[in-house]
Symmetry: C2
Subunit: 457 residues, 2 copies
């Protein structure tokens, strides 16, 4: 390992240059305008895998964006790790809030700013460079390695499950490695052992067939913006409990051990609030902020649009109102079942005077891992060597639906070794990645391959 680690140290600058090339590609998966860019990012990934010594590299077309697969089998008796990641990124709006261009990677004070720096290009990249370090120093990879890199994570991975289902043999592995989460805090390397799921919807309400004058028609014609507000307002009660009937019936209570461990984590309430510019941490009664973020489901309004929202005043009675809404789910809630409950409830709340359309946008299952799994223990040792300190075990509020898919379709356990930070603005302007964590991440990834070969898996 000494040679491998030295190689990594020597190549820091080149790694950054190559990552910058990756980040310059505006591979926004949700926007049809960027379709070619997404393909370019897939090709970039394929070239990286070849450079990392993979024997087999394939770009597979889907009905959406392509999936990149890579493989190097060095010893069938050794365990096989399947590295999962995504090369697509979130949209960049509001673009005017970026201090440097989202696709012009810029280093300021040890942080690399670009859309995708943390989510997920920069994190994925560490697993290319760890393999490369073994190959380029003339060593055999300590375990077998496979890569499954998709381009549709930010739009809910609509074609990934089918690909996995149809390629179970190709993808066969003993553990999946995913770096797409954040560390608990700066200087606190972490392993994430649970994720929340997701159910995302668009609600469209329509009243009159055209916008009307609010003076001439107000009082006899339904206002869909008001009715939408009423529906949304009824989704949570005064204790911030979600009011959808039977919504909580499958929710697994957090254990006493978890409550204790979470309460020991160095969660600095006032620093957290200061970071994101809030004055309070409101939320569901009876749970601490970390418990709410990690172990409790939520209901969020992600977007609103209706009528006139430009400068000045327009006395319009809008014909239409739209909301994007989503729920974060926790074990053992099922997105399909929750979606049914949600739709029934919204239908029951909407007055007969509006036309209501509910569109299911995407969903993902929640997931939780066993802390005693050999791969988690190997990861813990690898992080200790890569970062110089023991990791903490945490959960995460976001979704990585593929982790649930691995568990269900392939009975494949996952390890979530995130090297992002909580303030890295994933999905927001000025997304960034701490460069020191990036380099420690490459070393941890290399140690992981080594530790896994001795884990008894």
């Amino acid at each position: 390992m000494k040679e491998v680690i030295e190689y990594i140290e020597r190549n820091r600058e080149r790694y950054l240059e190559e990552l910058n090339e990756f980040l310059k590609i505006p591979s926004i998966s949700t926007d049809p305008k960027n379709r070619e860019d997404v393909v370019e990012a897939a090709e970039f990934v394929a070239r990286q895998l070849k450079a990392s010594g993979m024997e087999k590299v394939e770009i597979s077309a889907t009905e959406g964006h392509p999936i990149v697969f890579g493989e190097q089998i060095t010893d069938p008796d050794q365990p096989t790790v399947l590295v999962y990641g995504h090369y697509d990124v979130q949209p960049v709006d509001p673009i005017e809030l970026w201090e440097s261009g989202p696709f012009e990677p810029t280093v300021r004070q040890g942080e690399l700013y670009a859309r995708g720096a943390a989510d997920d290009k920069g994190q994925l990249f560490i697993h290319f460079k760890s393999a490369e370090a073994f190959v380029k120093t003339g060593q055999r990879l300590p375990v077998n390695i496979k890569y499954l890199i998709e381009g549709e994570e930010e739009i809910g991975s609509p074609h990934l499950d089918q690909f996995i289902e149809e390629n179970q043999e190709l993808l066969g592995a003993d553990v999946a490695m995913v770096s797409d989460t954040a560390m608990f805090a700066r200087g606190v390397p972490s392993i994430c052992y649970a994720l929340r799921g997701l159910a995302y919807f668009q609600l469209d309400l329509e009243g009159a067939s055209t916008d009307l004058h609010s003076g001439s028609f107000g009082g006899a014609v339904v206002n869909p913006a008001f009715e939408l507000s009423k529906i949304l307002a009824q989704m949570k009660d005064d204790d911030d409990r979600i009011t959808i009937p039977n919504f909580y019936s499958q929710v697994r209570d957090l254990t006493d051990r978890e409550r204790q461990e979470f309460s020991r984590l160095p969660f600095d309430k006032s620093a957290y609030m200061k970071d994101i510019g809030i004055r309070e941490l409101p939320g569901e009664k009876g749970y601490s902020p970390l418990e709410r973020l990690w172990t409790r489901p939520t209901f969020e309004v992600n977007g609103l649009s209706s009528g006139f929202s430009g400068e000045g005043a327009k006395t319009v009675l809008p014909a239409r109102a739209m909301a994007k809404v989503s729920m974060r789910l926790v074990p053992d809630q099922d997105p399909d079942q929750i979606s049914d409950l949600f739709e029934d409830y919204v239908h029951s709340l909407a007055p007969s005077s509006v036309k209501l359309k509910i569109t299911r946008m995407h969903g993902g299952k929640p997931w939780v891992a066993s802390l005693d799994h050999p791969a988690l223990i190997a990861t813990s040792k690898a992080i200790k060597k890569g970062f110089g300190k023991d990791p903490v075990f945490q959960r995460e509020g976001g979704s990585i639906p593929v982790v649930a898919t691995f568990a269900e379709l392939m009975n494949l356990p996952s390890v979530l070794m995130g090297i992002g930070l909580p303030d890295e603005n994933a999905h927001a302007p000025n997304e960034k990645l701490n460069l020191e964590n990036f380099y420690c991440g490459i070393k941890s990834s290399a140690h992981f391959l080594d530790e896994l070969s001795r884990s008894g898996l």
Copy 2:
């Protein structure tokens, strides 16, 4: 009068051509981009007044858009009418719903389509052409006439009250004539004797300082879009009564006579609903649709905006949410007092976890006239001659704040002789004016000048 009416009949085509020139000017008062166009519209009006024989025509600058004044004093013993109107128009969004360009006047099946056709350029125009008909047929105007034409009606007339206050002598008159309302129905010429007032606001809520990932942060961070929905939802109860404390304390109940007269009007519920594409006429309990539209105050959401509202799904926890809201007011509600009540109530509803900003956009007082006034009786006779049938007396749900200003500052009664139709899409795409009503309106305006001279006023 015979000569005057014949002159009007002979000049129908030229009237339409000249009105089209007026309608081609995109005098949108709310948009700074159109500032020059608004000035051009003012100059057009001044030229029309000169052509109508006015001795004195002046364009007065204000801090906003100019005010055009015109005057012809023919006999100090005769009554003086002050014609009020506005040459500015509403914005045109959503532009994609217009079947012909908003500033490319087009006649289809007897209807003239253009922004401002009904509100208010087309209606104002009838009072230019009636005066012209007297002058061009070599006759003295039967009464003295003054014109007060502003360019800021659609943004709440911010500089008109001051102009009126400072020019009371110049504007001195016995009655104001305003054509900026709709007839009760096609074929039912009408006089409007009451208007609702207005109080319009923008609400801005802010949570975190930047948009956040709804997975990583959802559960501990306030969602301003949800909190905004909650505030809006609490503005009306299940009976559609507005819940602002003391909101109804100044509301004048409608009289038994009004209830009876309204119930006799040919209000075709199913045609009304079909016209605007709705299936029900919901609203405040205990009042008929016409009573609600004309005599009851309302609360409307005019616009909503927050987070992500584009194509697809973005899992954002928005930093900000905005609503445009307004209340229609009825006699004797006062916009300032109602605005205070509204602001206090919204502040009481907003949680401490959001920053709330309330902006007063504009307001206008409600108004009601006496049905026995000689000018109303003269108008009634003029309409009978111009349209060939007796008018009905109705109220109107919209605001014309200047009417309240005339009453308060100058003790000046107003006559509202609207020749628009209820389905003419004022403030919406495909605004139009019925050409037959336009020509009958010119004749009615000429008869009004004649009848007023014999009204005993």
